[in-house]
C-alpha cells in the first residue's frame, strides 16, 4: 500500500473558519444582531433578504476560491 503525501491542512482550516463566519451570519446570533432589519433597501430588496443573498454569494465565492487553490490536491 502506497500512501500519498499528506496535503497541507491550512487551506481546509481557513475554509472551515470562513464558512463558519458565513454560517453564523445566516442564523442566530449573527443574523439577529446585524441582519434583522428592513431598511436600507438593497437593489429593491429589504435588508434582511439582501443580507441572506449576500452571505450565500460570499459562501459561493469562498468555495470557488478554495476549489481553485486546493481542489485538485484535496482528496476529501
Amino acid at each position: 500500500m502506497i500512501r500519498r503525501e499528506q496535503e497541507p491542512a491550512w487551506p481546509r482550516v481557513a475554509f472551515a473558519c470562513y464558512l463558519g463566519v458565513c454560517a453564523c451570519a445566516l442564523v442566530w446570533p449573527g443574523y439577529a444582531l446585524a441582519g434583522d432589519r428592513i431598511e436600507p433597501f438593497v437593489l429593491g430588496l429589504p435588508f434582511a433578504f439582501a443580507w441572506t443573498i449576500g452571505w450565500v454569494l460570499a459562501a459561493f465565492l469562498g468555495l470557488l476560491v478554495f476549489h481553485g487553490l486546493a481542489g485538485p490536491k484535496d482528496r476529501g
Binding site: 500500500m1 454560517a23 442566530w28 429589504p46 434582511a48 450565500v56 459561493f60 476549489h67 476529501g76
Partner: protein, 498 residues
C-alpha cells in the same frame, strides 16, 4: 384555439418531450443492475449538476416556497441558507464515496457503510429510514403534479387523475431507462425550470406592483412583520430564532446525507465531476430567489387562496395572463415535481432491494432478477405514494422539514465509515437507532422538547453521543478496515509487482 386548449396543449407537448428524452438513454445503458442503478458510472458534469439540482427544485420549491414566503415571510429565507451550505460537506464526502464505489462496486450508501463495519443490520436499518423519508416526499411531488394539472384544466381533470397521468409518464421512462433516463430528463427540466423561475419571479411583481422594489415598499408599509427575520411561525405569531436556526443546521447537515446523492456519486464519471457539481451547486440556491419573489408578490393579492401552498397557481388563474405563459408555468411546475419524483422513486426502490433485500436479508439475486425486482418496487412505491398523496393535508414546507429529521441521522454513520478509525459497527447501529427514535419522539410529541428546536437536532446529538459511547466500549480491529480507509483516502492499494 381557446385559452384552455393552449394551456393543456403546452403541458401535453412537455410531457411527451419528457417521455422521449427519458426513454432514449435506456437504449445505451447495459442490461444489468449496474447499468440501471448506477448508469454504468458514466454521468458527466452537466447531467450530474442537474440531477443533484433536482433535489432542491421540487414541487416543494415551486409551490411550497412561494406558500411559505406568502404566509410566513422571512422564514422562507432559510432555504437559501441551507441550499448554499448543505452541499459543501459533499465536496469531501463525495470523492471518497466515489473511490470506494469504484473499488468495491457499491451502488448504495448503505452498502458503503455496511462494508466498512461488516454489518448486515446497518443497511437494513438505513433502508427503512430512507423509505420513511422518501415515500412522503414522493407523495408530495405527486400531489403537487395533480394540483397543477387540476388548476390548468380549471377543474376538468381532478387532482387524482392529474397525479396519475404525470406519474404514469414518470413510471414509463424510469422503468425503461433507470438512472440515465432520470439524468437526461432532469437536465432538460432543470434548464426549463430556471428560465421559468426568473421569468415569473420578475414578471409577477412588475405586473402587480410595478416592480420588485415597489412591491417590498408596500409590504413594508402594510405587513412589515413579514420582512423581519426570522419571519412568522405557522400560527402567525413572531417566529422563534431557535426553530429557525436549528432548522437551518439540520437541513444543512442533512442535505449531504441524502442516500440518492451518494448513489449519484457512484454514478459519476470522475471525482472532478463531483467537486465541480458541488462548487456550482449554490447557483441553484440563487435561482430560488425569484421563487421567493413570487411568494411575496401574493402577500397583498386579493382574493387570498384557500391554502398558502396554492398562492402561485391561484394568482396565475386569477389575473389576466397569456395562456402561453400560464401553460409554460404549469409545465415548469410539472418539471419541478417530476425531476424530483423520478430521482426519488428510482433511488428508494434501488436502496430497498440492494440494502434491504440483498444485503440485510441475505437473499441472492442475479443481476437481471435484481433489475426486475427494482422495477416491481418502483411500481409499488409509486402506488403507495399515490395513495398517501391524497390523504396528506399539511404544508409542503413542513413536510420537507419533517423529512430532514430522519435523513440527518445518516451523517454520523457516513462520516464514521469514511473517516473515523475508532468507530465500530455496533456504535453506528446504536447511533442510527437512538437518533431516529429521539427524532420520532420529538416530532410526534413536540411538547416534550426541552427547547423549541428541530426534532432532528435532538436526534442528531443523541446519535453522535451513542455512536461515540458504544464505539468506545466495543472497539476492536475490523478485517479490511485499513484497506477500506486507504481506498477512501485515495492511497494506492495495489499490491506492488515483484
Amino acid at each position: 384555439m381557446s385559452d384552455s386548449r393552449i394551456v393543456v396543449g403546452i403541458a401535453a407537448v412537455y410531457l411527451v418531450a419528457c417521455l422521449v428524452i427519458g426513454m432514449l438513454p435506456g437504449r445505451r445503458a447495459s442490461d444489468s443492475a449496474e447499468g440501471y442503478v448506477a448508469g454504468d458510472r458514466t454521468l458527466g458534469p452537466l447531467v450530474m449538476f442537474f440531477i443533484t439540482g433536482a433535489t432542491i427544485f421540487s414541487a416543494f420549491a415551486f409551490l411550497g416556497m412561494p406558500g411559505k414566503a406568502y404566509s410566513q415571510g422571512a422564514w422562507a429565507f432559510m432555504v437559501l441558507a441551507y441550499g448554499a451550505f448543505g452541499f459543501i460537506p459533499f465536496y469531501f464526502l463525495g470523492p471518497r464515496a466515489a473511490r470506494l464505489g469504484r473499488e468495491y462496486g457499491f451502488v448504495t450508501q448503505g452498502q458503503m457503510v455496511a462494508h466498512r463495519f461488516h454489518s448486515l443490520p446497518i443497511p437494513g436499518v438505513m433502508a427503512l429510514i430512507s423509505a420513511g423519508a422518501f415515500v412522503p416526499y414522493l407523495a408530495i411531488q405527486i400531489k403537487g403534479a395533480g394540483y397543477v394539472l387540476n388548476s390548468m384544466t380549471q377543474g376538468a381533470v381532478s387532482e387524482q387523475v392529474g397525479g396519475a397521468i404525470v406519474y404514469g409518464v414518470v413510471l414509463v421512462y424510469v422503468l425503461k431507462s433507470g438512472v440515465l433516463g432520470v439524468g437526461w430528463t432532469n437536465t432538460f427540466q432543470g434548464i426549463f425550470m430556471m428560465v421559468l423561475a426568473w421569468a415569473m419571479g420578475l414578471y409577477l411583481p412588475y405586473a402587480l406592483y410595478g416592480g420588485v422594489g415597489e412591491m417590498f415598499r408596500r409590504i413594508a408599509e402594510e405587513r412589515p412583520e413579514l420582512l423581519r427575520a426570522p419571519g412568522l411561525g405557522p400560527d402567525g405569531a413572531q417566529g422563534s430564532w431557535g426553530e429557525y436556526t436549528s432548522a437551518v443546521i439540520v437541513t444543512s447537515i442533512g442535505f449531504s446525507a441524502w442516500p440518492h446523492l451518494f448513489m449519484k456519486a457512484f454514478t459519476a464519471r470522475s471525482e472532478a465531476t463531483i467537486r465541480r457539481t458541488v462548487v456550482l451547486y449554490p447557483i441553484f440556491s440563487i435561482f430560488l430567489v425569484p421563487i421567493l419573489l413570487i411568494g411575496f408578490s401574493g402577500v397583498l393579492f386579493e382574493p387570498a387562496p384557500a391554502q398558502a401552498d396554492q398562492i402561485l397557481p391561484h394568482m396565475l388563474m386569477s389575473i389576466e395572463l397569456s395562456p402561453w405563459i400560464v401553460g409554460l408555468f404549469c409545465a415548469g411546475a410539472l418539471a419541478a415535481s417530476m425531476s424530483s419524483g423520478d430521482a426519488i422513486v428510482h433511488a428508494c426502490s434501488s436502496i430497498l432491494v440492494r440494502d434491504g433485500w440483498i444485503t440485510a436479508l441475505g437473499r441472492k439475486l442475479d443481476t437481471h432478477a435484481e433489475r426486475r425486482l427494482i422495477r416491481y418496487l418502483i411500481v409499488v412505491l409509486l402506488g403507495a405514494s399515490y395513495g398517501l398523496a391524497f390523504h396528506y393535508e399539511g404544508s409542503l414546507f413542513d413536510l420537507l422539514l419533517y423529512a430532514y429529521g430522519p435523513v440527518v441521522q445518516f451523517m454520523p454513520a457516513v462520516v464514521a465509515a469514511l473517516y473515523i478509525r475508532r468507530a465500530t459497527g455496533p456504535g453506528v447501529l446504536a447511533g442510527l437507532v437512538v437518533g431516529v427514535s429521539v427524532n420520532i419522539l420529538f416530532a410526534v410529541c413536540p411538547d416534550l422538547r426541552p427547547f423549541a428546536l428541530h426534532a432532528g437536532l435532538y436526534g442528531f446529538v443523541a446519535n453522535v453521543a451513542a455512536l461515540a459511547l458504544v464505539s468506545a466500549v466495543t472497539r476492536r480491529e475490523i478485517d479490511g478496515e485499513e484497506r477500506y480507509l486507504a481506498v477512501a483516502a485515495g492511497d494506492d492499494v495495489r499490491e506492488p509487482s515483484s
